[in-house]
């Protein structure tokens, strides 16, 4: 009986800690983790896993590899969090790591044609799988149209030059400010604006024939 009561107390305490962590901003969660609260790291993973996955996936275009890279991001965060400059934004730091890993991946692919071939082949195979994010109750022709449109958009983004695509995704998908993008991509503000403007115009040009 005493054990059950103790377990309940622990679980209530655990829930309280989790709730408290959820209510904190990133900086406070980081401080909690560095103070020895291991659950704070899970909170950071929960907050960033989907956002980072989307960002990396849109950048490199390979879902499995994107998951691997996001995991690598969290491992690096775990290892080096004590070195993180807490006067800066945690999200900017995390996106910088993710952006660098994605860039390295693209560079490796361009150097290794076999990897590029395998990625392309895998993406073709992925197209045969059922879609996960569409409403199965909707009409087949509607599903097909949506799926087709999504593929066109993804292909159009993939056609952008890497440095344009990176800025474009950070701004349009992640909603980052110009200043944050400049910090993440290690460029000056003028370069970010110029790349974003070009990326928008190029993307609009690429996709226009499909949607007009």
């Amino acid at each position: 009986m005493a054990d059950i009561v103790r377990k309940r107390v622990v679980s209530v305490e655990g829930a309280t800690v989790r709730e408290r962590l959820q209510a904190m901003d990133d900086s406070a969660v980081v401080t909690a983790f560095l103070g020895g609260e291991e659950r704070a790291f899970s909170e950071l993973v929960t907050r960033y896993q989907t956002r980072l996955l989307n960002f990396v996936y849109r950048t490199i275009g390979d879902r499995e590899k994107a998951e691997d890279l996001v995991q690598e991001v969290f491992i690096r965060v775990y290892r080096h969090l004590h070195r993180f400059d807490r006067s800066k934004k945690f999200s900017t730091w995390v996106y910088t790591i993710a952006s660098n890993l994605a860039k390295n991946e693209l560079r490796n692919r361009s150097r290794n044609p076999l990897v590029l071939f395998q990625t392309v082949q895998k993406n073709f195979q992925d197209e045969d799988r059922p879609l996960q994010f569409e409403d199965p109750t909707s009409r087949p022709d509607d599903m097909y149209r949506k799926r087709h449109l999504r593929e066109i958009v993804e292909e159009s983004v993939a056609k952008l030059p890497e440095h344009h695509r990176n800025v474009f995704i950070l701004r349009e998908l992640e909603g980052k400010s110009y200043e944050e993008i400049a910090e993440i991509t290690d460029c000056n503000l003028g370069t970010v604006k110029s790349r974003l403007n070009r990326a928008r115009n190029s993307f609009a040009e690429i996709i226009a024939p499909y949607v007009d």
Binding site: Q71, Q132, R150, E172, F203
Partner: protein, 177 residues
Amino acid sequence: MDCREFNEHHLAFVDDTLAGIELVRMQLHVAECTSCAKQDAKVRRALLLFRNLPSIEPSADFSERLEARLRASQNDNLFLTTQRNLRRGAIAATVASAMMLGYIGTTLYQSDMPRDLVMPPVVATLPEPDFTPITTSAPAIVTSVSAGLTLWPAAVFAEQVPVSFAHSNLELANYTR
């Protein structure tokens, strides 16, 4: 506003970050210029499509795999730390052994060496200086002094006499020529 200026400010126009006056100018240009209006609509529509892309979710085993990788990474770290500590310990032991061997070697070498002979200190005294009286070393000069002439003019005179004579002889020879 011309089309070039419109394109320059288009980024901020789409992001809705333009100041009031600029915004009105841009809106006026869109209303007037068909080509810019078309481009503006094309960009906005494309962005709308991209922003509405369905979000992808991590796979079901994402957290488990991450945990496993974190654990493996921690083990790697532990292994690396242990290895590093062992390596440091080995280096310290080697250095300590080398120092110890050096010390033993030096001690043995010193005990084999013949010791220096210890001599009694040398006591020496300076000899007293030997004072000698000043003596004249030129008796001829002393002699000339006793003749009533000063030494120096007498010496000059004695040296110059033959020269002046020769000189007068030469002059005489010139005159007679």
